[in-house]
């Protein structure tokens, strides 16, 4: 180990990011420093509420948050150490492929970065909600109901005197959790249907397409309200329903697979005797990944809005669990008394969904500009 490498190593151990700055890798350096700052503030807030060591004695909801905080701090250090020893960008340029190229394009797109920052912020809030929330989200206080913003309650309080900001913070867990869970199912199930339909054609294809047609002929929101309204709602039910019936990815993947199927490399694979399963795994899936990624990113936004809409109608998340949709429902009831109430949850939904749409848009530009979404 040369002396220079040793200096970098020691610097990074002392303060992740400083080693990168020494080597003039400003972006990465400031990234790690910023990460450290956020984690520091989070730890400070957690410590102030006596929750930092929650993992050792408490069985409450802060356990996971504390654990994740430790893990993320550890990851910051290891990540910084790993990346400071790596080759610089210039040396690596020769090694770049499709995905690296797309990533580079993405990192220069203001739209994508803005969306990424919004999403990261929401994820951060969702994970560390117990640390950032000053009050308990379901603690009622009938002395202070329907108040406007104050130092104690930055976003005001609702009709039960619950702190709006804390409810927004905890509500992000519901929105992101269901949004991501349902979308993951959409991606796997819809992608699978699309790949099978596109690859095998004939009877299987027309069967799947007819199924999609039947499901698609009932407007999505009506279908989901119908199923949730009948079977009752729970978080699990919401994820399953949205996951199974959100079939927008299937059609797009199918049309992509249809074109991949006709390409020379698939013909070559077939000619050399590759099994269907191998061809799908090795050629079809990797090549249909780009549109799938774009569609899923946009789908998360759609799912978040649908969940909010369901909760708003009273078919979604049941009280007292804080969710943005049911907060808006309460806000509508008190629209005359306190019109301010509806602003924070609505902005939270809009910003989160906007974040995913921005990233989706930017992903499309980088990966597959011809995709019509």
């Amino acid at each position: 180990m040369s002396k220079k490498t040793l200096t970098l190593f020691v610097l990074t151990v002392l303060l992740p990011g400083s080693g990168h700055l020494l080597r003039r890798r400003w972006k990465t350096g400031f990234f790690f420093l910023g990460l450290l700052l956020i984690e520091g503030v989070t730890a400070l807030l957690a410590g102030q509420q006596g929750l930092l060591w929650g993992v050792w004695y408490s069985s409450g909801r802060q356990v996971v948050s504390s654990l994740l905080l430790y893990i993320s701090i550890a990851l910051t250090w290891t990540g910084a150490l790993w990346s400071v020893c790596r080759r610089t960008k210039k040396e690596e340029r020769a090694l770049r492929g499709y995905w690296e190229h797309a990533m580079e394009k993405l990192s220069r797109d203001t739209k994508g970065i803005t969306g990424g920052v919004i999403i990261c912020a929401v994820i951060l809030i969702a994970i560390f909600a117990p640390f950032y929330a000053i009050h308990d989200p379901i603690d009622m206080d009938f002395m202070h109901t329907l108040e406007g913003p104050s130092a104690l309650h930055p976003f005001g309080t609702d009709d039960y005197g619950r702190d709006l900001m804390s409810r927004i913070f905890f509500g992000s867990r519901v929105a992101l959790g269901i949004g991501a869970g349902a979308t993951l199912l959409n991606m796997v199930w819809g992608g699978l249907l699309g790949i099978i339909a596109g690859f095998y054609r004939n009877a299987v294809d027309s069967l799947i397409m007819r199924f999609l047609e039947v499901i698609g002929s009932v407007p999505y929101l009506i279908l989901v309200i119908f199923i949730i309204g009948i079977f009752g709602s729970s978080i699990k039910m919401l994820i399953i329903t949205l996951g199974i019936f959100g079939l927008a990815p299937a059609r797009i993947i199918r049309s992509k697979v249809l074109s991949i199927r006709e390409s020379d490399y698939v013909t070559a694979a077939k000619a050399s005797g590759a099994r269907d399963f191998y061809t799908i795994l090795r050629h079809i899936i990797p090549n249909s990944m780009a549109p799938l990624l774009v569609v899923t990113t946009m789908q998360i936004g759609v799912n978040i809005i649908i969940v909010a809409g369901l909760s708003f109608l009273g078919f979604g998340i049941s009280p007292p669990t804080p969710s943005w949709g049911s907060m808006l429902q309460e806000a509508q009831q008190f629209i005359v008394v306190n019109p301010w109430l509806g602003l924070p949850p609505g902005i939270a939904i809009m910003l989160t969904v906007l974040g995913f749409n921005l990233v989706g848009d930017s992903l499309r530009d980088a990966l597959d500009p011809t995709l019509a979404i």
Binding site: V214, S217, V218, L221, L328, M350, L354, L358, D361
Partner: protein
């Protein structure tokens, strides 16, 4: 052409059959007893049995389904909670829904197409960025929140628009009176918002695609004026996918209005759907789901057929 039309209509009927089957299966799979629900929690077992028999809920499933289909087409199916034929309920509410849908459609077409075209023609300019960002914000905004904001700003804060209901109507239409028109503004704008944003994006991308085509370059090269190229060559071709989308939206507006109509207390079909599901009114739910599926599928078929008429390149073999 005729045989294609017939085939499409047959396909449509098949799809609708499966939709009603799907809906029926889901309702039967659901937990809980509808007869008990209608009778109320305090009813005696005898009353529940009478109601069960009255609505035919004690028959075998295939007979129930057959009766349902017959009821749907003979329009004799009765709502459980309203105790009135579904047809009457739908007709009563349909005017409000059609009116609202048309206002939203008008707003969508008038605003989105010019904005999309401007955005595409000035690609990369501040105007393009502004329109694109606005459209993206539009598809990210929940309609019910938009309605609440409009209600609190224009209805309560400024006090210039009514916040709910339909206002004065003549013959079931509210757009013919000034009061009714004022009531239409907030729900109309809220309902239009998302489709407006989607349509702007679609118009933009469709125009951009056409602008890159060879025949446009040829037209310019042979000296056709820019305005003529854009209007005659680009715009008309770019409108095809946009009109498809508008056609599909017509079906969507009828039912996609559940949230908008619920939030603004607009007495249309969307609100009826909400009430039906809250009260678990099986026949009404089925009837309305069927109606919205019918509207959507009908929209698809009409657009498909119009396509064949408008675009001579498309022939259906």
């Amino acid at each position: 052409m005729l045989s294609y039309a017939i085939r499409r209509v047959l396909q449509m009927i098949l799809v609708l059959f499966f939709v009603s089957l799907l809906v029926f299966v889901f309702i039967k799979l659901a937990p809980g007893d509808p007869a008990r629900l209608i009778a109320g929690m305090t009813a005696t077992p005898d009353t529940v049995e009478i109601i069960r028999h009255e609505f035919g809920l004690d028959r075998p499933y295939h007979i129930q389904f057959a009766r349902l289909l017959v009821g749907l087409f003979s329009a004799r199916l009765k709502s459980l909670t309203y105790r009135a034929p579904i047809r009457d309920l739908v007709i009563e509410r349909a005017r409000a829904s059609i009116e609202l849908g048309l206002v939203a459609l008008l707003l969508t077409v008038i605003i989105s197409i010019p904005f999309g075209v401007i955005s595409a023609l000035t690609r990369g300019s501040p105007a393009d960025y502004a329109i694109s960002l606005l459209a993206l914000v539009g598809i990210s905004t929940p309609v019910f929140w938009l309605a609440i904001i409009l209600m609190s700003v224009f209805g309560i804060h400024l006090g210039i628009l009514p916040i709910s209901g339909r206002g004065a109507t003549i013959g079931g239409w509210s757009f013919v009176t000034l009061d009714g028109l004022r009531h239409l503004v907030i729900p109309g704008v809220a309902l239009a918002a998302i489709q407006l944003a989607l349509n702007t994006r679609l118009t933009r991308s469709s125009m951009l695609e056409i602008l890159n085509q060879d025949y446009l370059r040829t037209a310019r090269a042979k000296g056709v004026k820019t305005r003529v190229v854009i209007i005659k060559h680009a715009f008309r071709n770019a409108m095809l996918p946009v009109l498809t989308n508008v056609g599909i939206q017509i079906g969507g507006f009828l039912s996609g209005a559940v949230l908008t109509e619920t939030v603004t207390a607009w007495p249309g079909l969307g609100r009826l759907m909400f009430e039906a599901i809250s009260r678990r009114d099986e026949p009404l739910i089925i009837g309305l789901t069927f109606l919205s599926a019918f509207a959507a599928v009908f929209g698809y078929v009409v657009v498909d057929l119009l396509y064949a008429l408008v675009d001579p390149r498309i022939t259906y073999e």
